[in-house]
């Protein structure tokens, strides 16, 4: 009875959800997993030390992505390693983004933009595709997500700007019953959006 049945590795549940998503047939091999891990390691090493000969490490657009990110987040300090990882994932998912990021950087370099809002507004006016590029960049830095994959979790900027009030899930460090304390008040925002609105769809669970 057993002979004609497929045999599944009993460790198959150890695949991560992202890995499962990449391979819905649940046939991920050990070789695939090793190659995936090696690729990820190469990106990190390449970004940090410039030694690994990966396409990402040599990509001349990667530094432009970081420069654009500074402007679009209105932040002077961003982590270059995270930038490399986010950029690599965005371009891997949508290769056309490389060229679009280059052009968006050209637009920034060719003008004077004192804020993220000014640049974003001008960019969408120049070419509607830049709206998608900027969405990708915002989603990457603030949610830590690119290509529907978690690139960073705790280091996503959304947690940096809320850290005086709340912890990322699974990383609470306030001690028992910290939640009874009064959190900071938040004023009603006065800033305007830069881009035209998009339909907001809550991901199905």
């Amino acid at each position: 009875m057993a002979a004609d049945q497929p045999s599944f590795p009993t460790s198959i549940h150890l695949s991560t959800p992202n890995a499962i998503r990449m391979n819905r047939a649940l046939r991920m091999s050990r070789r695939d997993m090793l190659l995936g891990a090696m690729g990820a390691a190469a990106v990190v090493l390449g970004a940090g030390r410039g030694i690994a000969a990966t396409p990402e490490a040599e990509d001349t657009v990667a530094p432009l992505f970081l420069a654009l990110s500074h402007r679009l987040t209105d932040r002077d300090a961003l982590d270059a390693r995270i930038s490399s990882a986010l950029y690599a994932r965005i371009v891997k998912a949508t290769p056309a983004r490389r060229d679009q990021i280059q052009k968006l950087h050209d637009l920034m370099a060719g003008g004077k933009f004192d804020s993220a809002r000014e640049l974003a507004k001008a960019a969408e006016h120049a070419d509607p595709v830049f709206k998608d590029v900027i969405h990708d960049i915002m989603t990457a830095w603030y949610r830590g997500v690119a290509d529907e994959k978690v690139v960073v979790y705790r280091s996503a900027l959304m947690f940096d700007i809320t850290k005086d009030a709340i912890y990322p899930k699974t990383y609470a460090a306030g001690g028992p019953f910290y939640w009874t304390q009064t959190p900071p008040e938040v004023a009603v925002p006065t800033g305007e959006p830069a881009l035209s609105p998009s339909k907001f769809v809550v991901e199905p669970t």
């Binding site: 057993a2 497929p6 959800p17 992202n18 900027i134 028992p176 008040e185 669970t205």
Partner: protein, 545 residues
């Protein structure tokens, strides 16, 4: 994998969730030999935590728990579904999720540990609706307490906050202090409405308990508590194993064998992942495989002796599918910052609609103000609105601190037409059919949901809310019940008041599948109490034997 030789024990249990593992623990401690067969794998907590952190769709409660091909479970609540195939006018409202793995679905529950109300057991007698159980609240009360001690339940002092289910002992632990957000909500309800917000009883530590730590408020009870401050079935597995119970993972039971008289179960048969078949004999058998999988197994075990399935002379196996199908809305409060998501996920409830004379025409319900970290949702929403840079950061802080989510558990009703059958189209890797459920929301529940929507609209108004996002249609609550319904008459029920099947004297069912009505409180504590009552019966019978 076990060897090909037959396994045998006094009691053989199918399923290692809270029901199966707690029975195993009780019996093993009484010196009774126990084998528990679990269809899914054994995975440790840290692996699920890692999976969660790497999950993009954080609200996906099934996400960190990928299934194995030999024990599939629903991957999500999306219709059409890859495993639980729902049909009928309210197919999407019955998209339940659950887990098939060691420890069961309480890996991702929120620890809400409600006792049912006395009236919940007598719905027909008191309100002329649905069905009565074949037991009363008082029959279950000692086992409710035993379950609360087993899990470690914290809850309010009845003298201060009476939740309507009479208690002979106080809760094992003091009530959990509610969050700032919940406190603001409670104040609003007290000052502006005739209703009240109560502390939700929870299987969550407010002090070190059972060698598990005090809750640290990671806000991740669902899908996975990172530190084990919240009880889940795996702890009963570990306790039962320490007492000598044997747990076999990756053992997919597919057949229930009976004697020639079809009165006693003699063995169950399971497949290992390679479809090698194994036979396990015993004196007593307990199916504790979750409402949906229990009915599926009993139907799939049909043979010449029982062509409609095991324990199914009534024809009610797979029928009477119920849930707390509810209503959900998210909105932005116009009042002070709440910062939901500090502390555990579900801590407070409006309980005024759990019972009342109106239950003769519409179902009861309860309301959760979900204390859920909204930072990620706020960020995605603010980006979609077109904000960037400094203005985006302002929006994230504002939305994350002002987002409110309300949802309700609305009372279902036993309707034989709401029915689970074996899929004629879809099979798993072992060739076992997927479950299929026809679901039409009972009018009783529709009226209840309509009432809830009215309440939610009032609350949104009181909180000066904007940006309402209503979950379309109805909201499945993953509290399936009724598929092997309890009753006194073997002609229209599957088990008696002790959860023993009418048809087979040594076959018991420990699951929400035996519920005759579904009330409003989360089902797990009642599942555990019924299971402990099964253990009590088995101990008495095996000891006297």
């Amino acid at each position: 994998m076990p060897s090909e030789q037959d396994l045998s024990a006094d009691v053989v249990i199918v399923g290692s969730g809270v029901a199966g593992s707690s029975i195993a623990n009780e019996l093993a401690r009484a010196g009774i030999s126990v084998i528990v067969l679990e269809a899914g794998p054994r995975v440790d907590r840290q692996h699920f935590v890692d999976n969660f952190r790497n999950l993009e769709n954080k609200p996906s409660y099934q996400g960190p728990f990928p299934c194995v091909p030999w024990a599939e479970h629903p991957p999500n609540q999306i219709t059409p579904n890859k495993y639980l195939h729902t049909t009928g006018p309210d197919a999407e409202a019955y998209q339940q999720v659950y887990l098939r793995m060691m420890g069961g679905t309480t890996w991702h529950w929120a620890g809400c540990a409600w006792r049912y109300l006395p009236s919940d057991f007598e719905l027909k007698t008191r309100y002329g609706q649905g069905r009565d159980w074949a037991l009363k609240y008082d029959d279950l009360e000692p086992f409710y307490y035993q379950a609360e001690v087993m899990m470690g339940v914290c809850g309010p002092d009845p003298a201060v906050e009476d939740l309507g289910s009479p208690r002979r002992q106080p809760y094992p632990m003091d009530a959990l202090p509610i969050s700032y957000a919940a406190e603001q909500f409670r104040n609003l309800i007290r000052e502006k409405t005739p209703y009240r917000v109560v502390h939700e009883p929870q299987a969550r530590n407010t002090r070190p308990y059972d060698n598990r730590p005090t809750c640290e408020g990671h806000n991740n009870c669902m899908p996975i508590c990172p530190i084990g401050a919240m009880y889940n079935g795996s702890y009963s597995v570990y306790h039962a194993e320490a007492a000598g119970a044997k747990f076999v993972p990756n053992a997919v039971v597919y057949r229930i064998e009976r004697d020639s008289a079809n009165k006693r179960v003699t063995a169950v048969h399971y497949y290992d992942p390679d479809k090698g078949s194994h036979r396990v004999t015993g004196k007593y058998f307990v199916i504790a495989a979750h409402c949906i999988e229990t009915a599926k197994l009993m139907l799939y075990s049909a043979d010449e002796q029982s062509p409609d399935g095991i324990a199914n002379s009534s024809g009610h196996v797979g029928r009477n599918m119920m849930d707390h199908t509810g209503v959900q809305v998210t909105f932005i409060s116009g009042d002070k910052a709440l910062w939901p998501g500090r502390g555990p996920l579900e801590t407070n409830v409006i309980d005024n609609f759990r019972d009342g004379d109106w239950r003769n025409e519409r179902g009861a319900y309860l309301v959760h103000m979900v204390d859920d970290n909204q930072v990620d949702l706020a960020t995605a929403l603010a980006i979609s609105k077109g904000y960037v840079g400094r203005e985006l950061e302002e929006q994230i802080r504002y939305l994350a601190s002002h987002t409110v989510r309300l949802f309700s558990h609305n009372e279902g009703l036993a309707d034989p037409d709401n029915r689970l059958t074996l899929s004629a189209t879809y099979k798993d890797a072992l060739g076992i059919p997927h479950p299929e459920v026809y679901y039409k929301l009972p009018e009783y529940t529709v009226k209840s949901c309509d009432h809830t929507r009215g309440l939610f609209k009032d609350l949104i108004g009181l909180m000066h809310g904007t940006d309402e996002q209503w979950t379309p249609g109805y909201f499945p609550q993953d509290h399936p019940a009724g598929s092997t319904i309890m009753g006194t008459d073997p002609k229209d029920s599957v088990v008696d008041g002790f959860c023993r099947t009418h048809d087979h004297e040594n076959l018991f069912i420990a699951s929400s599948s035996v519920f005759s009505s579904v009330g409003t409180g989360n089902i797990t504590l009642t599942v555990a109490a019924l299971a402990l009552r099964v253990a009590d019966t088995l101990k008495k019978e095996l000891t006297h034997a």
